[in-house]
Amino acid sequence: MTGTRDDEAGLLAIAERVVAMAAPGEAIEAVVVHERETEVRAYEGEIESLTSAESRGIGVRVVRDGRQGFAYAGTLDADALIEVLGEARDNVEFATPDEHCAVAEPDGVPVADLDLYRSALVAHPTEAKVAMALELERLTRSADPRISGVESAEYGDSTSASAVATTTGIRATSRETGCFLSAYALAEQDGETQTGFGFSLGREPGDLDVATAAAQAAERSTRMLGSVKPASGRIAVVLDPWVSAQFLGIVAGTLNGESVQKGRSLFADRLGDEVASPLLTLVDDPTDPAATSATATDGEGLATRRNVLVSGGRLERFVHNSETARRAGTTSTGSAVRGYSSTPGVGVRAVSIRGGDRTPAELVAGIDDGVLVQGVSGLHSGVNPVSGDFSTGAEGLRIRGGELAEPIREFTIASTIQKMLTDLVAIGDDVQWLPMRAAGVTLVFGELTVSGV
């Protein structure tokens, strides 16, 4: 049963209690969260596992004389609060003084009303969640005769609430619900196995579409059957929305104030410059409720807001939390990101690109020789956001004479982030929010290096 301490008011009261213990000359920021999760996994017509989880946690930052100390605990028990505050205080004395180190101050920007919480999810019975997972597994298995198995079929949901309080007067709360279906299918033909995933996302179970998730998993796995390794060369590359969202997330990740100030952004000295094709307009807007990662307040309790990062190819803005903003002599863009177990970092949350006016099929029709990339691997190991080197494992389809041709796999695509932005030649009309910090859209690059045979 949810006790009153787990709603936003209860969490805020706990944060305020910690903040009220501030000694003279001491600033305190307390972040308190509560989360419930359900996860149901189906396998071969049975429930493989059912997890019901409830977590609570608190993170406390103490700042004194320009130095900060931090501590966290995965519990909200009264004795733990005292221990965490004590540890955070104790940690202060080891930090190097920094005039810009401080907790955030209220900035008067109104908090958007995003309505991210659905009581329908909270009331949804476990049996119905179980039934949905079983149905997803059944539909995925029967979607195509070449489906040989379903490695995982899962229903998951979460309900979370959080509160931030500071000695400087910030009082912020938020709550949200979310749920998903995901299926991972195995397709087999002539002794060859291929895999593909499908998913559906929503704020409440009624938003979920079992049939689409199952069909997508089946389609993604079967389309790779008979795939071959392509020849190496420089050709036009089309990224599908699933892949472009990951690429845009990396690009936007380089545009944060902390990386810039610490000399770790390849765009550090480029504000106001043309850094990309004039087609590119890139916006970070966590107040768009359609974004999976939408949120009305940031990790320091300030209102999130719409930030234009790149406009018509021109670099307009870096995002900031309150500390990097002070260091840059500007104001926070509401872009503090964190969990309760860490101090606020800086980052984008909901990046999207302005869509073009042609469909993906029309874009492919205009390409004589190229590849359509539908999946990537090793973005964490082959992309260096400091140097800009970009190299990733890929799979997808060949494009010949404006038509999609044979499936291809076990190749890489490579360039640099800087060059890719200027090599962007077309953007599709299919902008869509995906379960990550950026929306996806079909992107066409004039020339990238494909490494295969």
Binding site: E46, L50, A53, E54, S55, T193, F411
Partner: protein, 483 residues
């Protein structure tokens, strides 16, 4: 057994069996509640984790952070279904609620009360720790960061940024199950890393070095952070002069210690019994077959004292063991957790691990390594006309069903006419596991363990180690941009 006589943390710092988190009677009661409505198996996993991390960046000690996480995860198995619940409330009422939730989740079948009796504590002793990090003054930990910063900056004028991280953790666990098992472990890990940025005419380059072991603060008796910092700096500086990586298939030589990630991805994950059982691995049904060059012997060993992926017991209470996965090229066995071993009617292999008490255990690697061979490392390079030498690998990723895998190269060189020449820019290599194992055509005797890693699977991260001698794969696809 030894004690270092420094007991100020209040924790028994001997190597004795760690079963002291929760009382045996309370655990037995909780298991009885979990089994009250039927089921074949119930387990309580208790964890108490304390951690410290300190970060230096941009010349400043930015923060020192302390963390505490404590709770219990309870699972109940009924038929094919596992029910799981966890709680941070370790009182009798909190454990009872979680046990009931796990039991209900597993679809209660029969009825009546099942009494669970726990045997006396059993299992191997926890590793003996020289100096508990909790007993080391915070100022000493911070001082290491400042030394590393100074060493990296003085290594070369082109070093424009340095960040360094110190981390230690103490993880105490206790496992009790309905078969009467009661056991525990205390795992201490200590970690240090340095990342540098070098600036030049060619832009920015990065270099990183890290060290991590399942030991206490005595790690720094044998690891010189100045040296670690200079190596990280040197790596970034070297790369300022790098040329674009080649593109296409060619021989790839991987240096000692650096190649563990290759095996972790090329076949390690594919030898995990949970993926094998679902036919989601290219290695399913291939036990007893020749899957690699006859010189390849691959081991997963959770008992390697002090290594990043070692422990006394796994997170299901089973003692760590050394498991031969591939012997002289033949696939000998997969890695197992309790659930999969039980279905096969065999013993587990000590590979049931979980990120924390909030997670269900599954099959995971520990320290995975390729045994040394007979070739000479210099001759391997000399015998390679044109290819790539990878001195340090980054992370990797694999699709176990197809066997396709990638791994990154964070320090690599061209091999031209049998000699290492220009450093090359970062990128991924791509290959197929079963094909790559058969394409290994040279293995040297210069075995070394690699850097500490975090292996991610199904959203859970666990510490793993790996190691290899110098080796050559006759053909892999290098994902660069140079024609």
């Amino acid at each position: 057994m030894m004690a270092d006589g420094n007991g100020s943390s209040g924790i028994a710092d001997t190597g004795s069996l760690e079963t002291g988190l929760l009382d045996a009677g309370l655990l037995a009661d909780t298991l009885s509640v979990a089994m009250a409505t039927g089921g074949e198996f119930a387990e309580v996993f208790v964890e108490d984790r304390r951690s410290t991390s300190a970060v230096l960046d941009d010349g400043r000690i930015e923060e020192l952070s302390s963390g505490r996480d404590r709770g219990a995860g309870i699972r109940v198995v009924v038929g094919e279904t596992t029910g799981f619940a966890h709680t941070a409330d370790l009182s009798q009422a909190g454990l009872r609620n979680a046990a009931e939730a796990a039991s209900a989740a597993a679809r209660s079948g029969g009825g009546g009360v099942r009494e669970v009796t726990l045997d006396g504590p059993s299992g191997p002793s926890s590793a003996v720790i020289g100096v508990l990090p909790a007993d080391v003054p915070k100022a000493r930990k911070v001082a290491l960061l400042e030394r590393a910063d100074a060493a990296a900056r003085s290594a070369d004028g082109a070093i424009s940024q340095v960040s360094a991280r110190y981390g230690d953790s103490q993880r105490r666990i206790q496992v009790a199950n309905s078969e009467g098992l009661l056991t525990g472990d205390r795992q201490i890990r200590t970690f240090f890393s340095v990342s540098c940025v070098a600036s030049g005419d060619t832009g920015l380059q990065t270099g990183r070095e890290s060290v991590g072991h399942t030991v206490g603060f005595e790690l720094f008796d044998r690891v010189d952070v100045d040296d670690l910092a200079r190596r990280a700096a040197g790596r970034a500086i070297t790369k300022l002069g790098s040329v674009p990586a080649p593109s296409g298939e060619m021989p790839v030589v991987v240096g000692p210690g650096g190649g563990g990630v290759l095996f972790h991805e090329a076949c390690g994950h594919g030898l995990e019994a949970d993926l094998v059982a679902k036919s989601a691995s290219v290695f399913a049904g291939r036990r007893g077959e020749m899957v690699a060059t006859p010189t390849v012997s691959l081991i997963d060993d959770g008992t390697m004292a002090g290594e990043w992926g070692c422990f006394a017991i796994d997170d299901e209470g089973r003692p760590a063991q050394r498991n031969v996965l591939i012997e002289d090229g033949v696939l000998t066995d997969y890695m197992w957790d309790r659930l999969r071993a039980r279905k096969e009617g065999r013993e587990g292999s000590g590979n049931g691990r979980r990120q924390s008490y909030r997670h269900l255990p599954m099959v995971r690697m520990t320290n995975t390594y390729l045994e040394g061979g007979l070739d000479d490392p210099e001759e391997i390079v000399a015998g390679t006309d044109h290819g790539v030498y990878v001195a340090q690998l980054g992370g990797g990723q694999v699709n176990t069903a197809t066997g396709d895998f990638v791994f990154g190269m964070t320090e690599a060189y061209l091999i031209e006419d049998g000699r290492l020449t220009a450093p090359i820019r970062e990128g991924n290599l791509i290959g197929n596991g079963p094909e790559a194992l058969l394409a290994i055509d040279a293995i040297a005797g210069d075995f070394a363990m690699g850097s500490p890693g975090t292996c991610g699977k199904d959203g859970q991260g666990v510490p793993v180690g790996d190691g290899t001698p110098t080796l050559r794969v006759s053909r892999l696809t290098v994902g660069g941009t140079a024609a």
